[in-house]
C-alpha cells in the first residue's frame, strides 16, 4: 500500500449479524488519526491471486479514540475481500489500512436528517448517530434489513433511539414505503442513503418524483468493481503493458504491476484516480465523470471502468 498506510492489529472480532462481522482495529505504533462521521478506510487483504483493497465505513463513535471499528458483510460472490475477512482473519492479526477519508459527511446545517440504511449500509450511520445526538440534531433512522443475513446493531439502536428508530425486516414481510417516508417533509430535511444500488436508486427516484431538490439527497455505495472482459492496457509514458484479467479492475492490475495511481474510494465516486486515455474506447461505470467527459473518451476512472474493446492506451 502507499507510504501513508497504517499498520493495525485486530483487537476483537464479533458476529453482529448472521452475515456480518465487526472488527475492532488498534494502532500498532502510536495512535490512530481522528475521523469525522461518515469516514471510511481502505483495508488491504492478501487475496489468492493478488492483493485486494476494499473501502469500509468506520462504524464507531468518532470520540472513541484508540481504535476503529469496521463491519464486513460476507458477499456471496466475494472476489476474496469479504471472504478473507470472514475466514482468514483472527484476533491478533496485523492488517494495513489507509488513513480515514470522508465523502459522506452529514450536512450539519440540515434541520432534519433522514438516515436510510440497507443491510450493512448501517455502518456509516453508526458514526453519525453519536455525533447527531451530541449536537441535539433532529434525525430519524430508517433501517431496511433481512434478519436472516443482516440487521446488525438493531436491538441496540432500537433501544437507544426509541421513536427515531424505524426497522423494516423484509424476512418478516415488513416493507418500507419510500413515498410515505419522503412525503410531507419540511424544508431543510436532508436524506442520506447507504446500501445496495437498488435502494439508492429507489430513494433517488422517489425523491425526484416528489420534487425534492437533488442537493438534499446524499448517498454512498461501496461496491466491488464488476468483472468484465479481459483487456490490455498500454502505458505510453513508461512503455509498459498490463494485462487486466476479467475479475480484476484496471486499478488493481496497475497496482499489481507496481504502478501507483492516487485513489480513495475505489468505487467510482471520489474522482482521485482519474487517468488520461490516449486511445481506445472506454466502458464508463463510474458516478464521477460528467456525461460530456464520458462522451469525450479522454479519461477513465480505473477503479471501476474498463476498456470497451480489447485494449486501452493510457497516459501513464
Amino acid at each position: 500500500m502507499s507510504i501513508d498506510s497504517i499498520p493495525v492489529r485486530v483487537a476483537a472480532i464479533e458476529a453482529v449479524a448472521p452475515m456480518i462481522r465487526e472488527f475492532r482495529l488498534e494502532a500498532i505504533d502510536g495512535s490512530l488519526p481522528a475521523f469525522s462521521p461518515g469516514s471510511h478506510v481502505q483495508v488491504a487483504m492478501p487475496g489468492e491471486q493478488r492483493e485486494i483493497r476494499n473501502a469500509y465505513s468506520l462504524c464507531s463513535d468518532p470520540r472513541e479514540t484508540g481504535s476503529y471499528r469496521i463491519a464486513v458483510r460476507l458477499q456471496e460472490d466475494s472476489r476474496g475481500g469479504s471472504a478473507f475477512m470472514h475466514s482468514q482473519v483472527s484476533v491478533g492479526d496485523r492488517l494495513q489500512i489507509t488513513p480515514p477519508a470522508n465523502f459522506f459527511a452529514p450536512a450539519w446545517h440540515a434541520r432534519k436528517h433522514l438516515l436510510i440504511a440497507g443491510g450493512v449500509g448501517i455502518t456509516p450511520f453508526m458514526s453519525y448517530i453519536p455525533e447527531l445526538e451530541r449536537q441535539g440534531a433532529d434525525f430519524e433512522l430508517h433501517y431496511l434489513y433481512r434478519s436472516s443475513q443482516t440487521g446488525a446493531y438493531r436491538d441496540e439502536l432500537m433501544h437507544r433511539l426509541g421513536q427515531a428508530f424505524n426497522g423494516y425486516d423484509s424476512d418478516a414481510g415488513v416493507r418500507c414505503d419510500l413515498s410515505v417516508l419522503l412525503s410531507n417533509r419540511e424544508p431543510g430535511s436532508h436524506v442520506y442513503i447507504c446500501g445496495p444500488e437498488s435502494l439508492i436508486e429507489g430513494v433517488r427516484e422517489t425523491a425526484r418524483a416528489l420534487g425534492w431538490p437533488e442537493s438534499l439527497i446524499h448517498y454512498e455505495a461501496f461496491a466491488a468493481p464488476e468483472p468484465g472482459e479481459p483487456f490490455k492496457a498500454k502505458l505510453v509514458r513508461s512503455g509498459r503493458a498490463v494485462e487486466v484479467a476479467a475479475d480484476e479492475s484496471l486499478l488493481e492490475a496497475l497496482e499489481r504491476e507496481g504502478i501507483e495511481v492516487p485513489n480513495l474510494c475505489r468505487g467510482g465516486v471520489c474522482g482521485q484516480c482519474v487517468t488520461s486515455v490516449v486511445e481506445g474506447s472506454v466502458e464508463h461505470r463510474d458516478d464521477f465523470l460528467s456525461a460530456d467527459e464520458k462522451a469525450s473518451g479522454t479519461c477513465i476512472m480505473p477503479c471501476v471502468s474498463r476498456a470497451a474493446g480489447n485494449h486501452l492506451i493510457l497516459d501513464l
Binding site: A110, R111, N184, R185, E186, P187, G188, S189, A209, L210, G211, W212, P213, E214, S215, L216
Partner: protein
C-alpha cells in the same frame, strides 16, 4: 450589458422557468415586479401556486416577516420565484436559505432596476438604489468606489474609499452599468 468576466462574484440573472414537480410554487415579489412572474403563475395549477406580495402600506419588511413564518411549514419540494430590486432578491434568498431551502429551489428574476445596494466596507452601512460611482457613504461620509464585486450575504456591491490617500481628491462620478 457587458459584465467584466474577471468579476466572478457578480450575479447574472435569467428569466425564471417553471420547475416541476413541486409541492408548492411560491411567487414572491415587490409590486412593481409582478408582471415578471405573472406568466409563470398562470401556468401553474392554482392549488399549488401562491403569491407572496408586499402591499403598498406595509412594504417589504412585512413581506419578509410573513414569508419567514410561512417557510416554516412549507413542503421540502417548494419552489420559490422571486422578482424585484436586486437587494430584495437576495434578502428573500438569504431568508429562504435560513429556513433550510437550497439555491436549487430558488430562482431570482432579473432585477427591475439598475439601482445597486451598496455596502461600505469601512462602516458597514448599507445604501439602496445607488446608480453612480463614486458615492458618498451615508454612514461615514467617505467617498466610495462602487465595485462590481458582489456580496451575496449582504445582497450588495462592495464600496471602498476611492481617495484614501488624498481625501481632497474628488474623482468625477460615472453612471454604473
Amino acid at each position: 450589458m457587458q459584465i467584466d468576466p474577471s468579476i466572478k462574484s457578480r450575479p447574472t440573472y435569467q428569466a425564471p422557468m417553471l420547475e416541476e414537480p413541486a409541492g408548492l410554487q411560491l411567487f414572491v415579489c415587490q409590486p412593481e415586479a409582478r408582471g415578471l412572474l405573472e406568466p409563470l403563475y398562470q401556468q401553474c395549477a392554482s392549488a399549488q401556486a401562491q403569491w407572496v406580495l408586499a402591499d403598498e402600506e406595509t412594504g417589504t419588511e412585512a413581506l419578509l416577516a410573513s414569508l419567514q413564518q410561512m417557510l416554516v411549514n412549507v413542503p421540502v419540494s417548494t419552489r420559490l420565484y422571486v422578482a424585484g430590486h436586486e437587494g430584495f432578491l437576495w434578502d428573500v434568498r438569504n431568508l429562504a436559505l435560513e429556513a433550510g431551502l437550497v439555491d436549487e429551489q430558488i430562482q431570482l428574476a432579473p432585477p427591475v432596476s439598475r439601482g445597486r445596494r451598496l455596502f461600505c466596507t469601512h462602516c458597514y452601512t448599507l445604501m439602496e438604489g445607488v446608480e453612480a460611482s463614486p458615492h458618498s457613504c451615508s454612514g461615514c461620509g467617505r467617498l466610495l468606489l462602487v465595485r462590481d464585486h458582489f456580496s451575496r450575504l449582504h445582497g450588495a456591491y462592495v464600496g471602498v474609499q476611492i481617495n484614501a490617500e488624498d481625501p481632497s481628491e474628488l474623482p468625477e462620478q460615472e453612471v454604473l452599468q
